[in-house]
Structure formats: C-alpha cells, structure tokens
C-alpha cells in the first residue's frame, strides 16, 4: 500500500514509522522547514518538504497512485482541504483526517471527510467509560454504517428495573447486547432480570439515544447525554 501523510508532527511521524515497519510505502509532507530538517535524517526520501495543500506538492508526492491519504497537520482547514482534494480531484479511495478542534468535527462531516479522528473526543470517551455514574457513554460510532454502541447505567427506579429482558420492548433499531454486573459482563438471556446499577450495552441506530435513555433512567431525571 502507498500512503501519503500530510504533517510530520508527533502523530504524522509515528504513523509513518508504523506503516513503514509494516512494509508499506510512505511519503510524509511537512511544510515547516525546521521540522523537515529535524526529521530528514530519520525518514530520508520518505519525507518531503512542502505545503501539502498545494496541488503540485501532492502531485510530486505521487498522489495519483496513493491508496491512502492521511491529513494530520495542526490545522483543521488544511486537513479538510488535503482530504477533499485527494478524494475528489485525485480520486483516492481512502482518506483519514485528524480533527484538532472537536468543534470542527461537523465541518469535516459536512464536507464528506470521513473518517475524521479527534484525539480530544477519544480521550473524552475513555473518561466517560472510566468515570462511573456519568450516564450514557458512546462506546463506538460507525457513522458510515449508521450504527452505534452505547453504555448506560441503570438508575434506581428506572422503568426497566426488575423486568425480564424478554418483557422489555425497546424501540425498533435498539438491542441490548451485554449486561455488566458486579465487575463482569455477560450476554443477557430472555429471562435475565435487569437490576439497578447494571450497566447495559446497546447497539442502536443513531438518534435513538434519548428514547433509550428513558428506559434506563429514573423518571423525570434522564441520564446525562
């Protein structure tokens, strides 16, 4: 596989090392002269000096034959532009962009740049998972496939407490896939009874979060989303 990486910062360099170690061909493009010079010795011909948002720089790096373009500069507009041009002008099938400011995530989506990875969002998700009693946690979102997996803590007095899984009628597009209780998880059987304090994992169609939360939160006190 041939990958072009825009940005030789910490993320770009480490990605390049991983891909090179796995036997892939990589070109990293860096626009800061000092950053380029500092890393030239290690990466040799796999590092090029230039602005990856300039079309001729991308062409010099061989974007026409790239299988994957990864934009991980520190500038969200630059990352959007590199991916957009790679996808729409040079018809590269796969692009991956880094989102520096999580508030810009929507812009990447709007302009069709998927997947867009935000380190802040990832860390936030881990915090939600590690810190108990946070309410609803998004564990995984497959945006293209329009599916997500969430985790919810069952509140005292929630409508589903004491109910058997087979008796709980969830909205279309939602399924309980696992119950975490007392530190271990299991796949529920139809006769499994939901208890307060359980953490339930559900697979959902996007947009059902609020409706689902009502089943596992105390009435009038919806879990935080």
């Amino acid at each position: 596989m041939y990958a072009i990486i825009a940005g030789a910062g910490k993320v770009g360099r480490n990605l390049a090392r991983e891909l090179i170690n796995k036997g892939h061909e990589v070109t990293v493009i860096e626009s800061s002269r000092s950053c380029y010079l500092a890393n030239e010795e290690e990466f040799e011909h796999a590092l090029q000096y230039g602005d990856a948002t300039e079309l001729w720089v991308l062409e010099r790096a061989g974007i026409q034959r790239a299988d994957l373009v990864i934009a991980v500069t520190g500038d969200d507009e630059d990352n959007i532009l590199v991916c957009q041009v790679a996808k729409e002008k040079y018809l590269c099938d796969r692009v991956i962009a880094r989102v520096n400011n999580p508030r810009n995530h929507d812009h990447f989506r709007l302009l069709g740049i998927q997947p867009a990875v935000s380190a802040t969002d990832l860390i936030l998700r881990l915090i939600e998972h590690e810190v108990p009693r946070y309410g609803l946690v998004h564990l995984l979102a497959l945006e293209e496939e329009r599916l997500e997996i969430i985790e919810l803590e069952v509140a005292e007095g929630a409508p589903t407490v004491g109910e058997r899984v087979s008796d709980i009628t969830l909205p279309e597009g939602a399924l309980i896939i696992s119950v975490l209780r007392g530190g271990s998880g299991f796949v529920p059987k139809p006769e499994t009874v939901i208890q307060a304090g359980d953490e339930v994992l559900l697979v959902l169609d996007p947009g059902l979060e609020e409706a689902i939360t009502a089943y596992f939160a105390t009435a009038g006190q919806p879990a935080r989303i």
């Binding site: 948002t53 001729w56 500038d75 507009e77 630059d78 532009l81 812009h107 302009l111």
Partner: protein, 143 residues
C-alpha cells in the same frame, strides 16, 4: 441584498465599504477586533452609524456566523488571509446555510481553478497580477 464578508483585511474592508455605499446591507466578521478600524478609516461616519454590522469571531464558529447573520445572507464573501480557510468556510456557507452565492479569494491559481470548477466563485488576485505583469513586460505596440 445582504452581504456577509468574512475577513476585514485590505480587500474585505474596502469591499464592505463600497457594498454599503452601493446600498446593500453589509455584515463583516473578523477574528481581530482591531480590524474594525479599517472599516471606519476615511469615512465621515463610523461603520455602525452608517448601519454596517461588525462581529468578532472566526468563520469556523457556527455561533459567530449565525450572529453575523449568515442565515439570511444572499452573498458570502471569504476574504481572510488563508486560502484553505476561505475555501472551507465558503463551502460551509453554501452547504450548511444554503447561501446562494459564495465568492472566495484564493491566492493560489491551481486551487482557484479546481475549486472554481466545483461550484465556488473563486477570485485569484495572483492570476490577475500575473496578467498585468505580462502585459507590462510586453514590448510597446504589441497587443
């Protein structure tokens, strides 16, 4: 017509003043509060007294765009110092807010050409300057 101009530099601020003088409703958005001075410079009335609008913020912030009135803008002009910023915000104006006309300043001729073919109205000062230089270089009498 309601014109929203993002980036009150030399071009943006001069354009804002001429659009206002031509009778349009004009709103200017810039991240730098000091850029407001460019709107007042050389005018007999202050920008606000002349009924111009000014908002401090960046065009990637939805709140700032909405505050600057993007939802009812007929024309969106991207004239910040960054080509990529201009290209991204003009697409946001078109695709998220449905602004009919997005005009973008792009210094790089290659990007201006390509995005010009993608539904954006790009203006490339570099190309115009180049043409003028070439004309100035041409021997006298040659067309």
């Amino acid at each position: 017509m309601f014109v929203l101009i993002v980036g009150a530099g030399r071009v943006g601020s001069a354009l804002a003043k001429s659009a206002l003088a031509a009778g349009h409703e004009v709103s200017v958005l810039d991240a730098d509060p000091l850029s407001h001075e460019r709107l007042d410079a050389g005018q007999s009335k202050s920008w606000e007294d002349a009924e111009g609008q000014f908002t401090v913020g960046t065009a990637l912030e939805m709140d700032a765009l909405i505050q600057a009135g993007i939802e009812r803008a007929d024309v969106f002009i991207a004239s910040t110092a960054g080509d990529n910023t201009n290209l991204v915000i003009a697409q946001i104006a078109q695709k998220r807010f449905g602004v009919e006309k997005a005009i973008v300043r792009v210094m790089d001729p290659a990007r201006a050409d390509w995005y010009g073919g993608q539904g954006l109205h790009t203006i490339c000062p570099t190309k115009h300057a180049l043409e003028m230089f070439e004309r100035a270089l041409a021997p006298a009498g040659a067309a």
